[in-house]
Amino acid sequence: MEKERENMEEQLKITRESKGILNMHPQKFAMWLFMLTVLMIFAAYTSAYIVRKGQGSWIPFDLPVTFLYSTGIIVLSSIFMQIGYFEAKKNNKGKVILFTVLTLLSGIAFLVMQFKGYGRLVDMNLYFSDPNNVSGSFIYVITGVHAAHLISALVFLIIVLITAFKVENIKDKLVRMEICTTYWHFLGGLWIYLYLFLQLNQ
């Protein structure tokens, strides 16, 4: 009995200790599930948009071209991110840091661009809190919720960056890098979808 207890306690430590390695795979998987939930939020918004538009009395709008520029920036950032990931695979610490920083900067540029886009929208008399024009509010909500997720990805990037600075062998942290890359591409792809969606359903 006593022996069994000890044995048990030993195992306990082991599960805790081994967690880092054990969870590698599950973490990636969990990220996919998380992206699924994010996708559902936007599925909800875009369908709500279509349903609402179908009901008539819809005020059409022109999407500011700033959003096209931000689309370009996000594509660029994804390229940086991917190169960074390849460099991590080659265990090239310096390059990893460089490209992560580039991704980070272009991510911030994206957000700035979105913000400028809001300025354009205001110039066009499209406000977020407009009691008479729901189409304007929709643009803000859809892009805003996307931006909120992008900020979470920026935080993730910073974590990756800190990790990259700290570890000797960046290759050991490849999974973290990979998860971050996946998430980043996902948000980029999501933005392209949202942009096209808004463009096609003005």
């Binding site: 195992q11 200790e17 081994s18 939930t37 559902m40 729901v134 509010s137």
Partner: protein, 626 residues
């Protein structure tokens, strides 16, 4: 090659330096901020029980109003204060708040968090052979988000303007305009905050459940050998993951409408003769978004109960579950269909009638997989060697309640009939039988069945029988009469109908009857409560495998520690339903027994498997690694 092997390999390499953790588990790390899935499951259970009592008590208050509208209830004033008018009546506004909070609490806090949270957490690692959830930390967060959500929701009961009062579905404009009713103010804000936290909790839990089931199954635990409990929890989590974000999205728009001046859901509203500025919003849009969660939600509630019932019925009928594949298939079918029937809650919302008939068709189709489940339960029971444990009785109770309530669903699913029945007590009767009571019975079945594993002691069966029969008779006496009241046209969520002749003369007796039955049923739950807490401390010590069950959790020590199995994790060789197998020595063969050890009961195919086992060296799997 499963993770387990990696784990074992890992064990060796780290043998030397593990002296710092675990030895001194403090009270806080063991009972409060624990990452042990078993303790987290119990935390969900205790919180769920607490909420069930609150939710039940609220319902008694409004039931007294419905059953005895003339009664003087000033004796409740010490508890309810200003909500009792000077004449000793219930405040009508508070009535609405009671109904709303009762619904919210029961659907989300008891039957979602209390049921899925308890049993998914407790059983998934134990039954698939894992040491814990994929991420103990996320699991802990999941509970604490739920706890925070509970605190907010609970506090909203005590604020001056009262809790949310627009119904558990919080339809705008009631929920969107602060000035609509008192409950639309701070109470509604707190409701939204609580639900946002709740959704985060559910998603964290769900991601964990799914990841664990997919990634951490032990050697040999293929999907076709998973106990049906796990299948049910797994699919439930998938449904939750797909539907809760939509509620989150809908709630966010509601928040914008409430506080940021948008008009997603609002249009053409006059208050006191004055027009509000909002134009062009659509309240029906909210209904679509809400029910896209709302309908799957009802299956999130019932599916874990299905899973538990499958397990308990098979074990206690001493028979393999009838149609394992059909059971899994029907779960998948229900899960799929549950996403495309939501508009049956909106037949009379002004929706296009053609669209209505599409949803009607899809709704009626869902009766098919539901019926498959019922028939399989009944055929599993048929000619079984039934052992009537309290858990078994509650499972059979679930089947009965699910049939009674499911039949009325078919009435409601017809859009033409629903014009008469919508928003009457008929609907209330329907969902309390099919969802409320059935899922509650599933939860009770689970508690009685896994109590020995949870607390290492047996729960008293005699008291369990008394509890069962009182509850079983009770819920039928409460909810069956509601069908008649509903067909007569009583609307739900109304404070009083006594100004209608028919209702006050003919149906008042029936309403009073329902109320008395509800009080007795509620009182009967205290038998359970006593039994539960008494047995935790004083119950008879549990044997290793009290129900002679096949699943893995019974191979752990009677009171498993963190990590579940002291030695290596057992390997699985067969499905979990080898009960009363012809030729076998015992009437059950646990999942850990290889086919090569049971030549007397093997089929030809299983003999081939046995040969394969020999080739791959059954016994060596773990021993060599130690």
């Amino acid at each position: 090659m499963s993770e387990i092997k990696t784990q074992n390999v890992h064990i060796d390499s780290h043998e030397e330096h593990h002296d710092d953790h675990a030895h001194h588990e403090t009270f806080i790390s063991k009972y409060i901020f624990t990452t042990d899935h078993k303790m987290i499951g119990k935390q969900f259970l205790m919180t769920g029980i607490f909420w069930a009592l609150i939710g039940g008590a609220l319902s008694l208050i409004f039931r007294i109003q419905l059953g005895f509208p003339e009664a003087d209830i000033s004796w409740m004033r010490p508890m309810l204060g200003e909500w009792i008018t000077p004449e000793g009546r219930l405040d009508p506004e508070f009535y609405l708040a009671l109904v709303t909070m009762h619904g919210t609490i029961m659907v989300f806090f008891v039957l979602t968090a209390g049921l899925s949270g308890t049993f998914s957490n407790f059983l998934i690692p134990l039954q698939i052979g894992a040491r814990d959830m994929a991420s103990g930390f996320m699991n802990m967060l999941s509970y604490w988000f739920f706890f925070a959500s509970s605190v907010v929701m609970f506090s909203s009961l005590f604020i001056e303007t009262g809790p949310a009062a627009g119904g558990w579905v919080v339809y705008p404009p009631l929920s969107a305009l602060e000035q609509a009713i008192p409950g639309s103010g701070l109470g509604m804000t707190m409701w939204l905050v609580a639900m946002a936290l709740f959704i985060v909790s559910t998603l964290l839990g769900g991601i964990n459940y799914i990841t664990t089931v997919i990634n951490l199954r032990t050697e040999g635990m293929s999907f076709s050998r998973l106990p049906l409990t796990i299948w049910a929890f797994f699919i439930t989590a998938v449904i939750g993951l797909l539907s809760f974000p939509v509620l989150f999205a809908a709630a966010l728009l509601l928040i914008f409408d409430r506080s940021f001046g948008t008009a997603f859901y609002l249009s053409d509203i006059y208050i006191g003769g004055e027009a509000l500025p909002q134009q062009g919003g659509s309240p029906v849009l909210y209904q679509h978004l809400f029910w896209f969660l709302g309908h799957p939600e009802v299956y999130i509630v019932i599916m874990p109960a299905f899973g538990i019932t499958s397990e308990v019925i098979s074990t206690n009928a001493r028979k393999p579950i009838f149609g394992y594949r059909a059971m899994v298939g029907s779960l998948l079918g229900i899960a799929f269909l549950s996403f495309i029937v939501w508009a049956h809650h909106m037949f009379v919302s002004g929706m296009d009638p053609f669209l209505g008939s599409v949803f009607m068709l899809l709704t009626l189709v869902i009766a098919v997989p539901s019926a498959v489940k019922v028939f399989n339960y009944l055929t599993t029971l048929w000619k079984g060697n039934i052992v009537f444990t309290p858990g078994m009785l509650f499972s059979i109770g679930l089947v009965s309640l699910f049939i009674s309530g499911g039949l009325t669903g078919i009435f409601l699913g017809n859009s033409a009939i629903d014009i008469q029945l919508h928003d009457t007590y008929f609907v209330v009767a329907h969902f309390h039988l099919v969802m409320g009571s059935a899922a509650f019975f599933g939860m009770m079945a689970g508690v009685y069945h896994w109590f020995p594993k949870m607390f290492g002691r047996m729960i008293n069966a005699k008291l369990g029988y008394v509890h069962f029969w009182l509850t079983f008779a009770g819920v039928y006496l409460v909810f069956f009469p509601m069908h008649y009241i509903g067909i007569a046209g009583f609307p739900r969520r109304y404070y009083t109908w006594s100004s209608f002749e028919t209702f006050s003369n003919i149906f008042q007796d029936l309403n009073a009857f329902v109320t008395i039955a509800a009080i007795i049923t509620f009182a009967a739950q205290f038998i359970f409560l006593f039994n539960f807490f008494y047995s935790i401390y004083r119950g008879r010590r549990a044997p290793q495998n009290p129900w002679h069950s096949n699943t893995l959790e019974w191979t752990t020590p009677i009171e498993p520690g963190h990590g579940n199995w002291p030695g290596a994790i057992p390997t699985v060789y067969r499905w979990p339903y080898d009960y009363s197998k012809p030729g076998a020595a015992d009437d059950y063969i646990p999942q850990t027994v290889p086919y090569s050890e049971t030549p007397e009961s093997n089929t030809d195919f299983e003999n081939e498997l046995a040969a394969l086992e020999k080739e791959s060296g059954v016994e060596e799997v773990d021993e060599t690694k130690e």
